[in-house]
Symmetry: C2
């Protein structure tokens, strides 16, 4: 047996997860000599993606939602984990390959049974494309951003797009893609460091810090002729302001409504009043999940375009990397609190 440190979902959090109480780091052990599960494989893991949806899965199993609840006492499930195959009993996955596993544990070593094979993606390393890009722009978050922006947002060159939580994992990717496609890209963020980030690092056209400037004033100032696309990660007051400022036939991409689900038991969500604009301006407002067929159909185009854009340097995969599984809790809370700039990633080991 070798040490197999894992990031464990220990007990049900009430509000913000408490380190060492709700979340722990524990050695769950790994037998490097054991055969892989029948039809499955084992891995040594390099990178684990953090994602806000992980918090939603830390819930009372009686509460229904679109993703299943996590199991207490087990490693925290990540949307995507990248590792190297140690041993394999599967005909389609070979020893030494780099793989990305879906809905997999935050742990140093993994044992995957046969059922995991069909959702595991083999990564062919490409020059100039870092492995971490597969957790971001080339992973689920990038698929979310690329698919929904195109399928629901229907961007055209010159369109004005407003993005809420613009420095967040999805927001920053939507913004980068929109910049690349010639849109006028406006970001809303909650602090000046993030404002610098979207303007200087990501190349947004403009942006504002909603804690410093009234949202309605900011949107009027930055989009005096109105908004074609509102990419909404938040809901709440900015959604209301956006509705009031949409152009005719504008599109609202409903990616998230964080403002309605944080502390949902304690506060009533902000009541949106300007929905009359849906009729008056003939708007379309649509929600989605990254697994929906209308989103997934953009995958090939996403893979080709984003790979090309990363390789030619016109695009950056910007990551916030937490080093070492011992710091996994801290990195997770930083992501939840919106302190991390770029895609939040836990690095377990250097790729060999």
């Amino acid at each position: 047996m070798v040490q197999n440190k894992a990031f464990i979902y220990k007990s049900l959090p009430n509000g913000w997860p408490v380190p060492d109480k709700n979340l722990t780091i524990e050695d769950i052990g790994f037998d490097e000599n054991a055969a892989p599960p029948k039809g499955g494989f084992t891995t040594k893991n390099y990178y684990v993606a953090y994602d806000p949806s992980q918090r939603g899965r830390m819930r009372d199993p009686a509460i229904q939602s679109y993703s299943p609840p996590m199991n207490l006492g087990e490693p925290v499930i990540s949307v995507s984990v990248i590792g190297k195959v140690l041993r394999s009993d599967s005909s389609s996955i070979k020893e030494g390959q780099i793989v990305m596993m879906q809905s997999s544990g935050s742990e140093s070593y993994s044992k995957k049974d046969e059922s995991a094979v069909k959702t595991t993606q083999i990564i062919e390393p490409k020059d100039g494309v870092p492995l971490t890009a597969y957790l971001g722009l080339l992973g689920m978050t990038g698929m979310t951003a690329y698919g929904s922006l195109h399928e629901i947002g229907k961007p055209k060159k010159g369109d004005v797009i407003l993005i809420s939580a613009a420095a967040g994992a999805v927001g920053q990717m939507v913004g980068q893609i929109a910049v690349r496609e010639g849109l006028h890209v406006i970001g809303s963020v909650g602090d000046d460091r993030k404002l610098d980030f979207i303007l200087k690092d990501l190349g947004f056209t403009s942006g504002f810090n909603y804690k410093k400037e009234n949202m309605a004033d900011a949107v009027k100032r930055l989009a005096p002729d109105g908004i074609d696309i509102f990419y909404d990660n938040v809901g709440g007051e900015l959604l209301d302001v956006a509705l009031a400022n949409m152009k005719l036939f504008g599109r609202i991409v409903a990616c998230g409504s964080i403002s309605t689900y944080n502390n949902a038991k304690e506060t009533t969500p902000y009541g949106v009043k300007n929905y009359g604009a849906m009729v008056r301006k003939r708007l379309t407002w649509q929600g989605f999940l990254v697994f929906d067929p209308n989103i997934v159909q953009w995958r090939k185009e996403r893979d080709e375009n984003i790979t090309k854009w990363i390789q030619d340097g016109s695009f950056k995969s910007i990551d916030h990397v937490t080093e070492g599984i011992d710091n996994a809790i801290e990195g997770f809370l930083g992501m939840l609190k919106g302190e991390n700039l770029g895609k939040s990633i836990l690095k377990i080991a250097d790729p060999e």
Copy 2:
């Protein structure tokens, strides 16, 4: 000169229009011997459609909206007026034809110039189809209902549809079409007379009087498994209840939000809180105008199906007819106040 009584937009209403102050009946005269305008035609009118959007056009011209404001001192503009051609200088419109004119005055006789020809529809009388059907199911209201229900609502047999203002001009047509196409049709109305009407005359599956039963309770009771389509003419609290009860991938057809524009200066619109369902349930919510290409494309199918359904008796064109232009104000206010059952129509003269 003969008498040409007209329903006149006299002065800007503040709230409910006041008879004899904001709206009047006046003789504007008509010279039956005068030649028609160059390239145009003259008509003797039979029927004039009432429509809630007429109130929106009685506004300060400085306020922008999708339809132009009406001109003070002129006949009230109606979406559709049916009459017989008296004289014509147009090559495409002939004396004696029955025509339906768009955006035309509420008056006994009309003089139409060349620009009106392209929006004027020649009605070929069909057995078993009353002329008034062309103001309703076969007119703009029916186009609104048929086009939006199919384009945005995407109805499938067995779907559960909830319709607000279900006894209103659009609501009752949506309901009849949905019944005919095998949906489970639930109507929300504001009095028991209307409830009787949608259940007994229109064949809705079920319905409730929201003034007598809590909306959330009623929707839970009548749609325990949720709603596939919410056809929204009203906005407000029922919209919030609908959002909370939509099924996955449900569709919201934003046809109107009367609750947000009546008395808009005096009260704050109801704040909708359950929009988080847009993301969680991957809903689509879309507004439209009947002139939009995606709605108009359903015209041929609408004409064929509705004509067939009226002729075979499976469908009723249910009208609320105000007799005589002297009663035009009363009929208009009844329509605005929601007192009229069926499509509200002003009859000026019997077809000859």
